[in-house]
C-alpha cells in the first residue's frame, strides 16, 4: 500500500478500507447520515475551542482569549491563555481517567460479588493469576481458600479508589527510579477517585492558577488511570474471564453472516459480552433461531468490547470506532448490544433504517430510541439470554434483499497479554532484551488509540505501523489501532514478511506477528506493565528504554489520559491529531519540551505517518545510544521508500 501522503487527510478519501468505503457509498445512496456528514456540517469548527482558549467553567464567563492579540487576553476571572488551556486539558484528562476507572470499578464490584458468592454468572478462571496479584498487593494467600483471597483482593483494590492509601497498589511494579521521580515531583497517584476529584477542584475558578502545577496534577490524574483504574480493569478481567493467550480470529465486515443471527457487541466492558457469548450457545435460543430459518447465532465484536472478546475467545471483529454506523448499513445485523464509551448516539438513528435492534444495557448509558435491558451482573446469564432472544426474534424482520456484506474477512492474531508474551519468550523478558541489545529489534512502539473522521480511517495506524516494523521496531497495538492493523493483514505470523530482517527473524523463530495485539484500551496497562518489567530486568528507569508511544488517530478524552500516563511513565508519545492546547505557547513548550527534563519523556504532534515514523526511529536510536547500544546516527535515519516512481519522497 504505497499511498502518497497529502496532509493526513488523503484528500477525498474518508477511509482506506474497501468494506468501509462500500458502506459509506451505500449510506449516501440511501440518504443515511454518517459521522463524516456530521463532521462536514460542523466545519469550520470553533477556533477558540480548537486552541483550548475558551473556558466555560463558571458563570462569570463563558470567556475566550483572542489568539490574535486584539481582543481580551484574560477571562473575566483573570485567567490567561496558559491557565485556561491547562484547566481545559486537566478536565479532559480527568474525564478520560474517570471513564477507564469507572469501567475498572464495575469489574471490581462484580469481582467482589463473585468472591462473596452473590452471583453465579462469573467465576475465577485464572486462579494462578488471582494468587499472583494478591501476593503482589500484599494479600495473604498461603494456605487460604480462593474465595477468601478473592474477597481480600477485592477489598484491597477497592481501597485504591478512595484516598485511604499513600499510593496505588500497582505503583510497586515500577522501577525504584521512576517511583522516586514521581515522589520528587509530587505526582505519585494516591487514589483513583481522589486524583479525578482533585482535578475538578483545582480547575474550579480560583484554585490552581499556576499552569505548571495544573499540568503536573494532570499527569498524576492520568497515572491514577494507567496504574490504577485501567490496570485493575485488565487484571481482574483476566482473573474472571481468562488471561489472553495467542488466538487467531478474523476481522472486517466480512465476519457477518448471511444466514445466521448477527449480534454485534459494542462498547468496552467484558462483563456483559462474556455472558452474551455464553447465551449465544444456549440450545433453546439456537433452536429458536433455527425455527426462524437462521443457521445459528453469530457474535461479532466492535471497538473494545470486541477486543476483549477477541483477545480471550477469538471472537470475530467487525471493526473499530468508525465502523459502528457502517456495520448497521450492511442490513445484516439483528442487534447491536452496547454497554458504554465510544458508542455514537447516532447508531440508534441508523438502526431505524433497518430491522436492527439497538439494545442498551448499562443504566449509566441510555440511548433514546434503543431497547434498554438493564444489566444486573447478579443475574448476568439470565439477562444475557433475554438480550440474545430479542436479537433472534428480530431475524424474521431481516430484509434479505437489503443485506450487503461487502468483503471477505481477513485473518488476524490476538491474545498477547504480558503473560503470553513472556510465555512465548520462555518465561522471562531476557530473549527480548537480548534481541534489543543485539540490535535485531531496535526497540518497541505502542501504536494505540482511536479513529477520527478528520483523518482517512486507519491510514495513519497502518502506515505508521508498517514503517516501524520495516525498520525492525516491534509494534504493540490495542484498541482501534489493533483492528486497523488486523484489517491490513499486518497481524499474522506470516506478516513477519513485512518486517525488517532483524524483527522478521525474531518473529519467525517465535511464530509471532511483528504487530502484537495487547487488547482493549484499558489494556494499555499491559504495555505499561511490560515496559516496567523490561526496565526492572535491566535495572534502569523506563525512560532509558528504546520505547515510544503513538496515538495516530485519537479522538477521545480517554486517549488524552492514556497519552499523559504513558508520557509520565517515561515513554515519549507522538500524536497524529493536534490536541486543543496550541492557544498557549507555554503549555505547548512544556508538554513538547520541558517535560523531557522532568519525566524523561514528552509529547510530539505529527499527522504525517511517514514523518512520525522517522521521528520515532530517531527517538529510539537516541535511547539506544543512551544505553550504550549500537545506534544509527540521526543523519542516517531516513525513509527507505520513495516507493512509487514519480511520487515525491516524503520530506
Amino acid at each position: 500500500m504505497s499511498t502518497t501522503y497529502d496532509g493526513g487527510r488523503q484528500l477525498g478519501r474518508l477511509t482506506i478500507h474497501d468494506d468501509a468505503q462500500q458502506m459509506i457509498d451505500r449510506a449516501r445512496e440511501e440518504g443515511i447520515e454518517t459521522v463524516w456528514d456530521r463532521l462536514h456540517a460542523q466545519e469550520p469548527q470553533c477556533g477558540y475551542c480548537q486552541l483550548g482558549l475558551s473556558c466555560r467553567n463558571c458563570a462569570m464567563g463563558p470567556c475566550r482569549v483572542d489568539p490574535f492579540g486584539e481582543g481580551p487576553q484574560r477571562g473575566v476571572c483573570g485567567a490567561d491563555a496558559d491557565v485556561i488551556v491547562a484547566r481545559n486539558l486537566g478536565r479532559t484528562i480527568a474525564a478520560g481517567a474517570s471513564s477507564h476507572s469507572d469501567h475498572g470499578r464495575d469489574i471490581l464490584e462484580v469481582f467482589g460479588e463473585m468472591a462473596r458468592g452473590e452471583t453465579s454468572s462469573y467465576r475465577v478462571t485464572d486462579e494462578a493469576k488471582l494468587r499472583r496479584i494478591a501476593d503482589e498487593v500484599g494479600v495473604a494467600t498461603e494456605g487460604r481458600d480462593t474465595k477468601d483471597v478473592a474477597i481480600d483482593l477485592a477489598d484491597e483494590l477497592m481501597a485504591n479508589y478512595g484516598s485511604a492509601k499513600g499510593s496505588l497498589s500497582f505503583v510497586g511494579r515500577l522501577p525504584q527510579l521512576r517511583r522516586e521521580k514521581w515522589a520528587g515531583l509530587g505526582i505519585t497517584p494516591r487514589g483513583i477517585d481522589r486524583e479525578n476529584v482533585e482535578m475538578m477542584h483545582r480547575t474550579h475558578m480560583g484554585v490552581d492558577n499556576d499552569y505548571v502545577n495544573l499540568l503536573l496534577h494532570g499527569l498524576r490524574t492520568a497515572l491514577a488511570d494507567g496504574w490504577g483504574g485501567s490496570m485493575i480493569a485488565t487484571e481482574l478481567s483476566d482473573i474472571m474471564f481468562g488471561t489472553p493467550s495467542p488466538v487467531t480470529s478474523e476481522v472486517n465486515l466480512g465476519v457477518l453472516s448471511t444466514d445466521q443471527v448477527n449480534i454485534a457487541m459494542h462498547g468496552h466492558n467484558p462483563l456483559l459480552s462474556d455472558v452474551i457469548l455464553a447465551a449465544a450457545q444456549d440450545p433453546e435460543l439456537l433452536e429458536l433461531a433455527r425455527s426462524f430459518g437462521a443457521t445459528g447465532i453469530n457474535i461479532v465484536g466492535l471497538c473494545c468490547t470486541g477486543n476483549e472478546l477477541l483477545m480471550r475467545k477469538g471472537v470475530h471483529m467487525a471493526g473499530n470506532h468508525l465502523m459502528q454506523e457502517l456495520v448497521l448499513v450492511t442490513g445484516a445485523l439483528e442487534a447491536m448490544v452496547v454497554d458504554y464509551q465510544c458508542i455514537m448516539p447516532s447508531v440508534v438513528d441508523v438502526a431505524k433504517c433497518y430491522h436492527t435492534q439497538v439494545i442498551s444495557t448499562s443504566d449509566k448509558a441510555k440511548f433514546p430510541g434503543a431497547t434498554h435491558v438493564s444489566f444486573d451482573p447478579r443475574r448476568g446469564a439470565e439477562i444475557a439470554r433475554e438480550i440474545v432472544r430479542i436479537a433472534v426474534e428480530a431475524y424474521p424482520n431481516r430484509n434479505h434483499d437489503r443485506v450487503r456484506i461487502p468483503v471477505a474477512p481477513v485473518k488476524m492474531m490476538g491474545g498477547f497479554s504480558v503473560e503470553a508474551i513472556l510465555g512465548a519468550l520462555g518465561g522471562t523478558p531476557q530473549p527480548l532484551i537480548d534481541a534489543i541489545v543485539a540490535g535485531s529489534i531496535r526497540g518497541a512502539v505502542a501504536v494505540v488509540g482511536c479513529n477520527n473522521p478528520k483523518l482517512a480511517q486507519d491510514f495513519e495506524h497502518i502506515e505508521l505501523t508498517r514503517k516501524l516494523i520495516e525498520n525492525d521496531i516491534l509494534v504493540l497495538v490495542t484498541g482501534c489501532a489493533a483492528v486497523a492493523n488486523g484489517k491490513a493483514g499486518q497481524m499474522m505470523p506470516d506478516s513477519a514478511d513485512l518486517a525488517g530482517p532483524g524483527l522478521r527473524a525474531v518473529c519467525r523463530s517465535l511464530g509471532i506477528p511483528p504487530v502484537l495485539h495487547m487488547g482493549s484500551c484499558v489494556d494499555n496497562s499491559r504495555i505499561m506493565q511490560l515496559a516496567a518489567a523490561l526496565a526492572n530486568a535491566l535495572g534502569v528507569d523506563i525512560d532509558s528504554l528504546p520505547l515510544a508511544g503513538a496515538a495516530p488517530e485519537w479522538y477521545s478524552e480517554k486517549a488524552v489520559a492514556i497519552g499523559a500516563y504513558v508520557v509520565a511513565s517515561g515513554i515519549t508519545t507522538v500524536l497524529g491529531v493536534q490536541p486543543p492546547i496550541f492557544g498557549s505557547a507555554n503549555v505547548v513548550s512544556l508538554l513538547a519540551g520541558g517535560l523531557d527534563d522532568v519525566v524523561g519523556a514528552k509529547f510530539a504532534v505529527e499527522p504525517d505517518p511517514y514523518k512520525a515514523a522517522l521521528l520515532i526511529r530517531g527517538h529510539i536510536e537516541s535511547k539506544r545510544q543512551g544505553l550504550g547500544l549500537t545506534f544509527i546516527a540521526p543523519a542516517d535515519i531516513r525513509d527507505a521508500e520513495p516507493a512509487v516512481a514519480g511520487a515525491s519522497s516524503q520530506g
Binding site: P44, C46, G47, Y48, Q50, L51, R64, P67, F68, G69, E70, G71, Q578, F582, A585
Partner: protein, 243 residues
C-alpha cells in the same frame, strides 16, 4: 450584486467569523500557525456587543458605491476591483492618515502596523476585502462559511432582502392567525406563538414562498433576481416532489 448580508437578530456572539477572517488573511491559512505569524494576521469583521446581553452585531465593510473612504483617500490607496463590487485597500500606498476611517459610515476601518507606504511597521488601514480570492475559487467568504446560525449570509443582495421580507410577512400573518395547515385559528396566543416560531425559523417558510414565486415568475417569463444557488434548486425540487 453579490454581497455578505447580515441578520443581526441571529448573531449569538460566538466570534467564529472573526477567527475565520483572521486565519483567511494569514500566510499559513492554518489556525494553529496563524497567530505565530509576524505581522499578525488581522480580522476584518468585528462583532460588537448590542445594548442588552446576548445581542451582538457582526460589522464589516459594506463596500459602498460610491465609497466615501475611496473619495477622501489622499494617496489613492483605495480603489474598486475590476468587477466593481468590492472596495480594496493597497497597503503599499497607505500612509495611515485615517481619513477613510473618519468618513466611514460604519466604523469598520482599523489600523495595524503592517508594511505600509511609510515603512515596514507603519500603520495601515485594514478592512474587509470581500474574500476576493475565495470568491474567485467559487467559495463563499470565510466569515459566512464559519457562521453556523446564518447571521452572515452570502448571495444576491435583493434576494437576501426579499427572503427576510418574506420571513417577516410569514411571521406577521402567523400572528394574525393564519396557518398554512389549519387556517385562521382565532386564538391570539397561538397566533403570537406562531409569530415567534416563524420569526425564528431560518428562511424555510420564506424559502418555500420564494420558490413558488420564482416558479410562477418563470412561467410568465420573468425571473426575480439572478440567484441560482443549489439550496434554492433543492427547495424547488422538494416542493415539486411534494405536489
Amino acid at each position: 450584486m453579490q454581497t455578505v448580508f447580515i441578520n443581526p437578530e441571529r448573531c449569538i456572539g460566538c466570534l467564529q467569523c472573526e477567527i475565520a477572517c483572521a486565519v483567511e488573511h494569514s500566510t499559513s491559512r492554518d489556525l494553529a500557525q496563524a497567530f505565530h505569524e509576524r505581522p499578525l494576521p488581522r480580522k476584518r469583521v468585528h462583532v460588537e456587543p448590542g445594548p442588552v446581553a446576548t445581542t451582538s452585531f457582526p460589522n464589516k465593510c459594506r463596500h459602498c458605491d460610491p465609497a466615501p473612504c475611496q473619495r477622501v483617500c489622499p494617496t489613492g490607496a483605495i480603489s474598486r476591483d475590476a468587477g466593481g463590487d468590492l472596495v480594496l485597500i493597497d497597503p503599499a500606498r497607505c500612509i495611515g492618515c485615517a481619513m477613510c476611517a473618519v468618513v466611514c459610515p460604519f466604523d469598520v476601518v482599523t489600523f495595524h502596523p503592517l508594511a505600509g507606504a511609510l515603512g515596514p511597521d507603519s500603520l495601515v488601514a485594514v478592512k474587509c476585502d470581500g474574500c476576493k480570492e475565495r470568491l474567485d475559487r467559487g467559495e463563499v467568504p470565510a466569515c459566512v462559511e464559519s457562521c453556523k446560525v446564518d447571521a452572515l449570509v452570502f448571495g444576491d443582495l435583493n434576494e437576501l432582502i426579499a427572503k427576510g421580507r418574506l420571513r417577516e410577512s410569514n411571521a406577521v400573518l402567523s400572528a394574525a392567525g393564519f396557518s398554512a395547515t389549519a387556517g385562521p385559528s382565532g386564538d391570539p396566543l397561538a397566533g403570537w406563538r406562531a409569530f415567534g416560531i416563524a420569526r425564528a425559523t431560518v428562511d424555510d417558510a420564506a424559502q418555500d414562498v420564494w420558490n413558488r414565486r420564482r416558479r410562477e415568475a418563470a412561467r410568465v417569463g420573468a425571473q426575480p433576481g439572478n440567484g441560482n444557488d443549489s439550496k434554492e434548486n433543492n427547495g424547488a425540487t422538494r416542493e415539486e416532489g411534494a405536489s
